[in-house]
Amino acid sequence: MKSKWIIAAALGAGLAAPSLAQDKVKLVDVVELSGAGATAGTNWKNGIDLAVADINAKGGILGRQIEIVHYDTQTNPGNTRAAVQRAIDEGTYAVLGPVFSGPIGASMQISQRAEIAQFVGGEAAGLTKQGNQYLFRTSLSQAAAMPKIANYLKNTVKAGSVAVVWVNNDFGKGGRDAIIPELEKAGIKVAADVATEQGQADFAADAIKIKNSNADAIFVYLNEEESARFLRAAKQQGINKPMVGETTLLGAKVIELAGDAANGVKGHVGLSIDAPIPAFQEFGKKYQAKYNYASDHNGLKGYMAVYMIKWATEKQKKFDSKGVADTLRGATIKPSDEPGILMETTIESNGDLDRESFLAEVINGKQVINATLPKIKP
């Protein structure tokens, strides 16, 4: 008698399983949770988890709960390719991540072939110039940010010469190749062009080289941990020229790691929990409460990526992987339509984004927003 009950229970569970699976939509996040990209990747992952928890608490997407899976790429392009393939084989609805441009470049063709939308944190200008209709940024491209920085260096910092220090990976090389023509266009001399390595620990020699270039300002384009180490090395060498950077340099993690050395750093910021937008600040509070530290821009990017998927799915009123990409291209998502998007975002046909951005400065260990810059195509 007991065995009959067990068989009946097992059959019941087996019959119920498909309906449970249908109640969920699977998203796979392929991200840098260790290696050189661990800081950026951890923020991105946490942002995604926060969005998934919020959406699931409100009933999910079209009534289906999100099942999120994270795979650590160890900031390795080979591992990233394998993880993206695994995500597709496992039937992910869309691919989230990675954040570093190099691994994105190495893996984006896989989701393109599978016609599945991939939402990435990378900023390298070249990523969206390859005709991939399934790749979507969650941050501004270098091509959009660098003219604003050159303009800032010329008109606000009043720099006649600039030393450029960059990290020799796809992100840094892309940034370096984008800023130098913009500086030259603005009539600013490049006093030093210093390449550094991803994961580099000792920046003393680079800081000395930059100090001796006697540039009016220094443009720093490194990843998070390297940015902090460079700022510390620059302080050790007594560099007192304005340090200007793009989003990463003014990120919360860089400020935390660099300590006093981050004070006075200025630059352009794509996303910030300190921006004068209540939804950003609300996100910042939620993130702080859950993870006990302040989110950087990558946390916001991860959060918004999930809401881009939600908006597209609800717009097409069905779960259609290919349709997500088709719906997003050329769309403008407004917070009035989808509050989780946090700020009005236009998605270009090539996957680039256009939205407002900010000029910021680090004062007493806090990022302070000085001005809001409009969208490129308002």
Binding site: N168, L257, G259
Partner: protein, 292 residues
């Protein structure tokens, strides 16, 4: 000239750290005739343990440092000898070398999973200011590294050459059988060597972590450069490790300054190849002959 002095001082500071780690290589080599491939992780871990103690026990920095350092010396000085070296050495030096490779991975992954995959701030005991030397701005942190590292190495040299215990240690390293006949407690001397190695790693860790930040992967570069330093200077001489560390540190700094940071890893490796070809025993090493 001022620029050159600044690069030189930065190189000597980095080289002093490599020297501390390289001395660890030579100490282990002298007592067990093997290479500790976890030496880089030995320098990485004390800083992580200090931060972990602060986090777990809510301890102030000084207490966290005390707990972390004591735990490290106990586990990776005494424990390393008892749990890894003693059981493996009877099977030859190769199994022991492989065991240290495994230990290196365990330490790295343990630090990543048990602490954090992200870099963390490590407090500095000197202010981040500069002083002017012949027109060059020199960081107080670099000066502190040089002074402390040289003081520790000087102390070690005095201990090894100028004290009864140190001479017993030397005798044990040179010929354990004869040392035992002479009544020297060989096992205790070998244990002391491993404790000294752990203590040197602690000093290197505390000095370098405010600059490199505390991170599980820090040992990779430090271990590699210290290994090169030990070979360049001479694997069987403590003063060889010192010279090798300084040479590699200066070459590293000059390569980053006058060639590019992208090639800074390659240049010491080229130096290593040149030394192996021209003076295989290292700059300060002595030739060893073994009967097969």
């Amino acid at each position: 000239m001022a620029e050159f002095i600044a690069y030189l001082i930065a190189g000597i500071a980095t080289g002093a750290i490599y020297a501390l780690a390289a001395i660890g290589f030579t100490l282990v080599w002298q007592t067990s005739q093997t290479i500790n491939f976890a030496q880089g992780e030995f320098v990485m871990l004390p800083a992580v343990l200090v931060l972990l103690a602060i986090k777990l026990f809510g301890a102030p920095i000084w207490l966290g440092a005390l707990i972390g350092i004591a735990a490290f010396i106990l586990i990776f000085g005494v424990g390393f000898k008892v749990a890894v070296v003693d059981p493996m050495i009877r099977h030859g030096v190769l199994p022991l070398a492989i065991a240290t490779m495994a230990l290196s991975i365990i330490m790295k992954e343990g630090a990543k999973d048990g602490f954090s995959a992200e870099a963390q701030n490590f407090p500095s005991f000197v202010p981040t200011q500069t002083i002017s030397v012949f027109g060059a701005s020199i960081s107080l942190q670099h000066i502190a590294i040089i002074v402390v590292a040289f003081a520790v190495i000087g102390l070690l040299q005095w201990f090894v050459g100028g004290t009864r215990l140190g001479r017993q240690m030397q005798a044990t390293a040179q010929n354990p059988t004869v040392a035992r006949i002479l009544g020297i407690p060989v096992e205790r001397m070998v244990l002391l060597t491993f404790v000294i190695n752990a203590a040197l790693a602690v000093v290197a860790s505390v000095l370098i972590s405010p600059i490199y930040l505390a991170k599980f992967s820090n040992g990779e570069v430090i271990g590699l450069f210290a290994f090169i330093a030990a070979i360049v200077g001479g694997f069987n001489q403590v003063r060889g490790a010192l010279v090798g560390g300084l040479v590699v540190g200066i070459v590293d700094s000059m390569a980053a300054a006058y060639i590019s940071s992208s090639y800074r890893l390659a240049v010491p490796l080229v130096l290593l190849v040149v030394i192996i070809l021209l003076k295989p025993e290292g700059l300060m090493g002595r030739k060893e002959e073994r009967r097969v």
